[in-house]
Symmetry: D2
Subunit: 351 residues, 4 copies
């Protein structure tokens, strides 16, 4: 059994790591940290009656792998010691995501204290970096919006099919993405019937997406990204608009995407027929609630041949495929397990 | 492997049976019926990419067990043939739930056509009828509101602790309980910010709850039941009020309930401390979203010693512990499997 | 023009007072206080572009009437000075609601500092205390749950029709009732798909309701009250259950209520026919979203003649008829205006 | 008093016309049609207790103005007769919105039967066509998404500031926009925690927006429009992305918009400061729930100077400023009333 520690287990991301690991056939939870004296069920009432107990952050012990669900800046302080003790590290935060130190320090507004680890870390979109992840000691788990945009746009940029200087992405996010800390945009009376745009030109995940898609396309990629909070809890829908550089049809695009992801278990190209006659033309596109609580990313496609636009819908759960679950997928790869172990659950319908 | 058929697989209950059986280690889905030509993902987009295919109702074949997720009146027509073929039957509907034929025919407003099966059927609250279920050929799976009320009130009526003539239950239900058929109270613009009471004095589940609690208490039980639709999707909260016939404290009640359910995996008595000082005194009671998508029922308790009232909160998922999941729990019992097989998943948090 | 001050204008209740007074034909807003430097639209984005500006609490000036939307304990400190200056006071909080000082001090866990004002204050259910309100200098505006329960049960207790020792009320509340301060039960990811019972045996509004209904019935009244937060924003549904002391039908009850409220503009007895045949029997009962943003209370009725129970549904907006709007109704009465001035707006549908 | 008829008063749009006209100081409702026998409160429970009664469609009588809230294709059949009788017509539907007959017939998939009326009709964005509306007999009230996009983009295209060939608009719509007819995407269990893209490349409102913005800019405008249903009830957020043809700052843009709308009561340019330091940068942008139930359109602005993008947020209520309310604004103009009569209500907060 792999022994896993969870550092920062009271938040939504940490709690999701706990829940997934509990169901994992080859992992045991070595420890889970909390700074408070509360019980697990105080934070995660879904886990009432399980035997998980929190320990204090200073009581951690070496184990095989540590998941870090911590505020920006903390993982780069903690990671060196765990690595020295032979633990692998999966950082669910942003400390090791960017390749460019100056960019990182500008975006995250602090000095980086462990840049050698950042350099070593593998960016954890499993589908794009599988072989490196297998050999990695440190994973920089991707940001949720970035995961959706990267998986949604990878086949396009790889194929050189679009104008990479003008990719527009609207990221609609549920409130789990805001986190467990109380805040105004997460206050039910404010967001319950509302749509709240924020950080509309400079969201941090933009830089990850540009970096990864740039590497794939071998060109500079501009992601014009705007996030909006919507009154769902889990889930992200990235609506990606791109301008094709040559003529393309929906059918051709579907083929391209299916080929690109043909061996992937967790990325499904959503290919239901588009019927012109239907008064409600919603069926050909995936729904964000379908992948809630899972490691799946569903991708939908369409083309406006008249005006010249490709639209890609990429849906995932911000703390599932966009967080804890992909972390576990990466762990599976790092330890030579079946990549899907513990992650095959489907989403609920309805939910 | 047990071969299971799902009759009526396009609705929410049937879809949930499919999803749970897909994850069950000892079951294979023999068939799932639909009257339409559509794909599974047209009805259950969460199952996109799985290999389940619908067959027509007239194409079913004998198998080990059939789950029926069908409108009232249909199971009593179909069950005889399946039983004759040696299939066990788990009716998720109401055809076999009542012991009293006249009562059934009045409540369901039709003649019963297979009363011998109704007599044979075991009422499927697993925790109360475990031994009979193990030997049963036919299960009358309980109604969702009834499940909550029965599990929530069983320890009280069994102990003879309350005035059984005046038990008040408010049943708050999510819209999954309305079903997949379109209807006004399920229209988002109507229910999205609303609370919709309905059938406020004669809901059908009342009769089941009165029957089962009457058997347990050996006295007539009046459940004064009022259901209200609330804008959540999954889940039921039964708020049960009872007037104690002798003095009782919260601590004593907690002890009684914990003893009653001490060997149960799926029923958890929610015992977080009640702190008088907290400005928000919500922690001691279970949350309905904690059990969404699961076979768990969480029960919370309190006592108003001044005015003389016991309040019991019973939460479950109407298509989980209140439907498909408990059906699978009963199947496990009927086939001598581990009672928890395929059902150990915890709920999500947040959701 | 009446000059009105609003003390505590950044919260939801204070903001609603501002909005209603803005539309009132005979009132001008003299001032509105905030302890912060922020603009009105920072707190109330719906008021963006209006010319209301906040002043500091120490900058208030005498005016005709002051609305106090303040934490418990503050109005009893502020009211004496305003009264001395000749201002009338409408306290939207709880400082002056109870007749019994010992009870108040126990329930609110502090010494009362202005009990003479509490004694003078008129409890502001306009429909029951109209004549006293016209002559009052100080109004104790009722609690939202209490308003619903009192209006819903007044005809019953007045008619001596029920067992007043066992009145069960489930109070379902939207999150506006939690207030603008951030808190766990108001965090969208927690409450968005949830139902959160709290203070289930000792909610403060219980005592007001018992006091007022006791006065009406001339008997001790026990309200067995349990509040539950539900994921709507505005609105309260009090589901009231009472056991009749003599036989009664829905039709008779309807008559009683219509007679009781026949001269009331803001209380509507909801009398749509109850059709036994309808598969969804939701029409005869009022919907809470119908009265959102208004001063209306809609009341629905039913009787379970078999088991012996009356059920009353009382719906109102916790910061409308349950708060700011009824405060303005009381102001209208105190100043000899048309009782409905500024308050005739209907709710939205859908909402 | 102006006598107004409402043709098609059972839907959400028709109901909103009724509600607004009820509060209008200079209008009386002459009649409101329904094909059913039901009471007004069966469809619009918010109007319970008012004295509005439905008449049959064949019982209408001439009056001063008729609002038509009818399915596509019906207004073009009814309008000629009303016009002949001297009634002015405000079509809340799409029959008269396009200038190009061939385009209309292609988009709406039928022959047009009253093209002379379509030619006469004035497109009812009041702020852009005020003088023509004053003289009009027939108004083609704009589509909701189109209203938002046109008001949001008009200053930009008028100033020639953007590349009009590549304007991307994501239109997030509440479920009131789906209408009162039952449908799968409006079923609460499907949409309650979901985001449903539909008609993602060919929504009908696109053509109106392109037409109107084309007229303003004197160039061809491509609106790359994608609508998504979100689980709010009222309200539309158009997120508009445009690529500037010359360098521009947020401050400059703010100036441009404020100048453009400086005399408008109902269009507010939302100018709260953008503070770089705030951890949640949501304040500078308007919220869709702020304008719910009103005739206001709030517009927010930002610029990504690095990558070169303008983002405009335009929020309105699809059956308020995007429907019934703007219809009344147009009526006010047509009859020489104060343009704001009956429409000055602010939105609720919270809601």
């Amino acid at each position: 059994m792999i022994r896993a520690g969870v550092y920062g287990a009271t938040g939504y991301m940490g709690g999701e790591v706990l829940r997934v690991l509990m169901e994992h056939p080859e992992v045991e939870i070595a420890w889970a940290t909390s700074r408070s004296d509360a019980q697990v069920a105080d934070y995660h009432p879904n886990l009432y009656g399980t035997d998980i107990r929190f320990i204090r952050p200073d009581q951690t012990t070496p184990c095989d792998v540590v998941f870090m669900a911590l505020p920006s800046g903390v993982p780069m302080e903690l990671a060196p010691k765990f690595l020295k003790d032979g633990c692998k590290v999966i950082d669910l935060g942003a400390d090791f995501r960017l390749n460019d130190r100056a960019a990182w320090e500008k975006v995250y507004k602090r000095k980086h204290k462990s840049w050698n680890i950042a350099k070593e870390a593998v960016y954890g979109v499993s589908e794009l970096h599988r072989e490196e992840i297998k050999k990695a000691r440190v994973i920089a788990n991707p940001g949720c919006f970035a995961s959706g945009a990267i998986l949604g746009l990878a086949p396009l940029v790889k194929a050189g099919l679009i104008d990479t200087s003008k990719v527009v992405v609207d990221g609609l996010s549920g409130t789990a993405g805001i986190g467990a800390d109380l805040s105004r945009p997460a206050h039910h009376a404010e967001i319950g019937n509302n749509l709240i745009p924020y950080n509309v030109t400079g969201h941090r995940h933009t830089f990850e997406a540009e970096q990864e898609l740039g590497l794939l396309s071998k060109r500079k990629v501009n992601i014009h990204f705007t996030p909006v909070y919507v009154p769902i809890v889990r889930g992200i829908l990235d609506v990606c608009h791109a301008f094709p550089t040559r003529k393309v049809t929906r059918a051709k695009l579907m083929e391209l995407y299916k080929e690109f992801y043909k061996d992937e278990y967790f990325v499904k190209v959503y290919d239901l027929p588009k019927e012109e006659s239907a008064s409600w033309q919603y069926k050909p596109y995936p729904w964000v609630n379908s992948v809630s609580g899972t490691n799946f990313c569903f991708i939908g496609l369409d083309v406006d041949e008249t005006r010249g636009r490709i639209v890609v819908f990429s849906v995932l759960d911000s703390i599932g495929k966009g967080g804890a679950h992909v972390g576990v997928q990466n762990m599976n790869l790092m330890f030579g397990l079946d990549e899907t172990a513990g992650l095959t659950r489907r989403g609920l319908h309805p939910i």
